[in-house]
Amino acid sequence: MPIVAILASIIELLPQLIAAGAEVQTLIGNVQAATASGATDPTAAEWQAVTAELDSLTVQLNTDPT
């Protein structure tokens, strides 16, 4: 029975890993776009988006798992 529970816990983690991977890919895309844009400054909307992302992640980091 414990083995089944362990397997279930690993399977539970997979969607989280996939979601995190997709989020990281998006952020890396932003970095590449910012680098490729050269002298172009980020727009106000882009600043707001990255700040909101950091705020949201900070809240998540500061929240203990249930």
Partner: protein, 151 residues
């Protein structure tokens, strides 16, 4: 006939090992991607000060995603399955999560300062950009210490 349960137990054990390896490999792969990303950002033509800070913030956010992912794992030592070792089932260290939280507070302060600096006076923000870049690297180092291990 007695060999069947032994075979099943061995098979299940290998599945667990493979699963644990996949979780660890997922973290490790993401960390490698982050490293490649930050290196790539430094060798291309010089972006504007604002674009530099924006890139640093996105790189930092990617590291923060991994920190959150690690923090979302069950805490080591408080899991319901007592006989199962923490090595088999990925878990997060409470002290490691606290370290990440403290590092995040510190880094966010520096990043916010850099963002304000490039928006107010881009030409005079060189030091703030350097500080932000270093803060993001330091945070990546903290996350890499723990997140890749899964315990």
């Amino acid at each position: 006939m007695k060999r069947l349960p032994v075979f099943l137990a061995t098979f299940a054990r290998w599945i667990i090992y493979i699963g644990a390896f996949a979780v660890g490999a997922g973290f490790f792969g993401a960390l490698l991607a982050l490293g490649a990303c930050s290196q790539g950002a430094s060798v291309t033509q010089a972006p504007s000060p604002a674009a530099q800070v924006y890139a640093v913030e996105n790189t930092y956010a990617a590291a923060l995603v991994l920190a959150v992912q690690y923090g979302n794992l069950p805490r080591c030592g408080v899991m319901p399955l007592a006989p199962v070792s923490d090595v088999v089932r990925p878990c997060s260290s409470a002290s490691a999560v606290e370290t990440m939280r403290s590092a995040n507070v510190q880094a966010r302060r520096i990043l916010d300062t850099a963002q304000a600096a490039v928006q107010a006076n881009p030409a005079g923000a060189t030091q703030a950009i350097a500080d932000a870049t270093q803060a993001a690297k330091d945070f990546q180092t903290v996350v890499a210490q723990y997140a890749g291990k899964g315990s």
